[in-house]
């Protein structure tokens, strides 16, 4: 039973385009949604996160759009750069201070110059 789903599995865009990575979840108790970025040979690193009380979070070229009613969120990367090529993980936390995160399976993003 996969509680956090990501699509697509892989995505290729040209430099300068907007990449859209999708995430959906099943557990209504999920309250905090971080996105992690992982480069080959490295551990994941927090990129941007949103709480369920917000519908949008922006940080430079990275924006999360959140729809609580539909249990969906998306990560938009505007003006994509080759250096953005990485695997992106959507995760969710129930906000119960357990510290546990449930991760999706990831989206591999390739940005062609």
């Amino acid at each position: 039973q996969q509680q956090v789903r990501q699509s697509p599995q892989s995505l290729t865009v040209w430099e300068g385009e907007t990449a859209i990575l999708n995430c959906s979840y099943e557990n209504s108790a999920f309250d905090y949604f971080p996105w992690y970025q992982q480069f080959p040979g490295e551990g994941p690193a927090l990129l941007i996160a949103i709480r369920s009380v917000s519908d949008k979070k922006e940080d430079g070229r990275f924006t999360i759009f959140f729809n609580k009613r539909e249990k969906k969120l998306s990560l938009h990367i505007t003006d994509s750069q080759p250096g953005d090529s990485a695997t992106y993980f959507c995760a969710a936390n129930p906000g119960a201070n357990t510290g546990k995160l449930t991760f999706g399976h990831g989206t591999i993003l390739r940005v062609h110059p």
Binding site: Y36, G43, P44, A45, L46, A49, G99, G106
Partner: protein
């Protein structure tokens, strides 16, 4: 500079051998984690530790055990390793919601 370290980075073992993976953090975080990552499966939580000697099973604890005797160190132990435990193992620590990950250990069990 906040850092999570993992040793060793690469390890090859034979089936049935014991494996010890070490993790350290310099942020005095109470909570630490062990995950494994397999292609196409994301990160799966093996164990979580809320502080010294306060450990809890994650989603896939079978075949693994952990030890945390100091807040800054968290060990993952595989007693009699199996070939299906070949994976990349990540350690992480957190003080609140954000988790900081180490660089990973690539374990191959032959």
């Amino acid at each position: 500079d906040m850092k999570v370290t993992q040793m060793p980075r690469y390890l090859i073992k034979r089936m049935g051998e014991n494996v010890l993976l070490e993790c350290g953090q310099d942020m005095s975080h109470e909570t630490m984690y062990w995950y494994r990552q397999d292609p196409g499966l994301g990160l799966q939580l093996i164990y979580i530790s809320y502080d010294v000697d306060s450990n809890s099973e994650g989603d896939i604890p079978k075949g693994y055990r952990v030890s945390r005797k100091k807040r800054e160190h968290f060990s993952l132990i595989l007693d009699s390793a199996k070939t299906n435990q070949t994976s990349v193992y990540f350690c992480a620590s957190s003080s609140s919601y954000e988790q900081y990950f180490g660089p990973g250990t690539r374990l191959t069990v032959l």
